[in-house]
Symmetry: C2
Subunit: 110 residues, 2 copies
DNA sequence: TTGATAGTTATCCATGTGGCTAACTGTACC
DNA sequence: GGTACAGTTAGCCACATGGATAACTATCAA
């Protein structure tokens, strides 16, 4: 399996969890520390950190640690891969309906 | 957790697998029977059927059985939920950058 | 230097996921 | 009827996932 497919796997998997989507949503408004983010969720910190890890492996967020606080930020370019996949997909079925249209027009003797 | 979130869970989970994405891609070109679809994959039928099941539970595909053959078709409207989620997301960070622009303009004394 | 704060690491656990084989059901065809 | 074909059901297995607790490290502040 090529790299793009593996990337889609990890991105979609990362998005298939409400906690992780909420983190992405929150980070859309600006950077935040891990504990700022964690506050909103009824979950032990280590559990929450796993979600951060999944998002980071997928490349959807980045983080850097200064002093003892790790600050996370969104990586919108990586999220855009989702839209690209969707657009590619839509192109396929658009082409199909276009072909159906042509077929119908031909049948009408147009 | 509300229904929309649960729906996103199952949709993104369904998409987080290369076999299932390939099925969606194939169905974008038109309907196909289970065994037509399965042919392309090096996998036992029952294993493949699970993927079909996951896609169907997520609502991304539909199927009907006539005689002994089950025919599957794409449900593009359900796939569109992915784009809606992405657009909602982008709206959030677009708003943020817009605010940053305003801030910068104010600082410039404009 | 002593707390308190912010993460991190190490385990552990129940459940889910993705694959398999074997055996079964129902339909089509000769 | 008998056989082949298209799915389906049942059960098995290894591994991943999402949660937990306990104990640790490192930094900041009094």
């Amino acid at each position: 399996m090529d790299n793009y497919q593996a990337s889609l796997d990890s991105i979609f998997h990362a998005l298939a969890d409400p906690t992780r989507r909420a983190v992405i949503q929150r980070l859309g408004q600006g950077e935040a520390s891990v504990s700022d983010l964690a506050m909103r969720f009824d979950m032990a910190l280590p559990s929450f950190m796993k979600h951060i890890g999944v998002l980071e492996v997928a490349g959807l967020i980045g983080s850097k640690k200064v002093g003892r606080v790790r600050t996370c930020k969104l990586e919108p370019t990586k999220l855009a891969v989702v839209e690209k996949w969707y657009d590619d997909q839509r192109a396929i079925w658009d082409a199909r309906y276009k072909n159906l249209d042509n077929l119908l027009n031909n049948l009408k003797g147009k």
